[in-house]
Amino acid sequence: MHNATIKSLSADLAARRISSVELTQHFLNRIKALGGKYNCFITLDPDASLKQAQAADRLRASGGGQPLTGIPIAQKDIFCAKGWLTTCGSRILSNFRSPYDAHVVEQLNGAGAVNLGKTNMDEFAMGSSSETSFYGAVRNPWNVDFVPGGSSGGSSAAVAARLAPGAIGTDTGGSIRQPAALSGVCGLKPTYGVVSRYGMIAFASSLDQGGPLARSAEDLALMLNVMAGHDARDSTSLAREREDYARDLGKPVQGLTIGLPDEFFAAGAAPGVVKAVEAAIAEFRKLGCKTVKVTLPNMKLSVPVYYVLAPAEASSNLARYDGVRYGYRAPEYSDLTDLYRRTRSQGFGPEVKRRILIGTYVLSHGYYDAYYIQAQKVRRLIARDFTEAFKSCDVIMGPTSPTTAFRLGEKMSDPVQMYLNDIYTIPANLAGLPGMSIPCGLDEKGLPVGLQVVGGHFAEAKMLGLAHQYQLATDWHLRIPPGCDT
């Protein structure tokens, strides 16, 4: 059961060949047996999961149900789920039992999906390796000495290790796509505004976007169909007609034009990554796609721009953690200011504090124009590059990450090296564009390589169609990490 896709599990549930209780119990058993090895879950609540599974079975028995009814989905611990501990990987929320559901969680519950558990992540989604969690580092199922990527590394590792058929994550600078690439699974960051941010713990609000991780493009489409939708409680949620993200899965891709930015293939990407990505592009040519060179001349400025904007927004968003209304409070303090200081110093980890300091500095008096406004102006230049590039192509392709997974601890002492992991993923966040990563090979160490697909606003269905046709012709998405097949 654990190697099956959501699509086929859904057919089995609909035909009553399996029950959601059996399916959920099967994954809970696997998590119990293997979960500790990868440390991909922070909280499990088998009783709550099985209760949802029973409800799904009743719905199916009465002839009701949708594609996700009865499917267990792991949830990144950044999504508030009523009654569940929701920690965001941080000590400061280590005792926070959410009193409400995120919009995405409401949507999943409404579709009858089962919450399989809350996955581990970089603290407040700040990281590219899932090592900054208060709950310890997540390990990569392909090799436990390596990181799974981050920040949605618990979600990507759970899907890769067959501990969940699908998972939800969030992507501020690459946090769905990069772990999907490093863990050998599929991940999609939708167009900004497609998925509501209500109840998704805020990091950088102008960039944060929730999305699905799964083992096939088809499964991503089924999940996005449920996750997307307008929500008045998020003022940036887009009021658009509902669309079926699976509508282009059967469409031929012949004649579509793929843009290949020089900047994605310039020095910096590892040879094993470039080789696999070029082979994938050759496969798309065989499928009838055309390729054209495009240029994103300001792409190199994405990382510097991001490390002004994201920390600035984070320093403001994280001001709410004060030890007064919820979450951790320092045990000893002398006065109110001391209560804030001690609570925040003890409650936040080093990377979160670093970003709060950067953000506070760039927003402080005298520096605002030089840093924040300048970064917003360069952000526009980067977005314009994409508008220009999409005049001559339907989608852009390149590597998701310059390297495959790196060793645990390798980049923890050098923040800048860690930040540069996201050089290929950050531009789509800055421009608000949809981005996806799908497995396209293994490098010489046997670690997965991700192919990134970036489309224009609302091009998700087209991108998923392309990925699905690729996955019909290749089997990289079906590869199983060693020891995870039984």
């Binding site: 008045a232 003022s235 510097p304 490390y307 919820y326 421009a431």
Partner: protein, 95 residues
């Protein structure tokens, strides 16, 4: 422009994060690496470019000025560190 130790301490103070001298010095060297990276962006000529504050050109949606929230203070205060009589308790601020 490199940051000084006082810049780090001032930002930490504004952000209500306690740092001792050793922590501030360690943060200083890492922050200066990050600001070296950020400097690449500062050199760009952006005259005449409108700042882009958001990924989509959105207008602020408005709602009717009506009560929409129900009173859930009991539920919300159930996760607070220290509550008494429906009030959040903090150290005394006014003598």
């Amino acid at each position: 422009m490199a940051l000084k130790l006082d810049d780090v301490k001032r930002a930490a103070d504004l952000a209500r994060i306690a740092v001792d001298d050793a922590e501030a010095r360690a943060a200083l060297s890492q922050l200066n690496d990050v600001f070296k990276l950020i400097a690449e962006m500062q050199a760009v000529d952006t005259r005449g470019i409108e700042p882009m504050s958001h990924a989509q050109d959105l207008v602020q949606p408005l709602r009717r000025d009506a009560v929409t929230e129900t009173d859930q203070h009991g539920l919300f205060q159930s996760v607070a560190p220290h509550v008494e009589g429906g009030l959040y308790l903090v150290p005394k601020v006014i003598e």
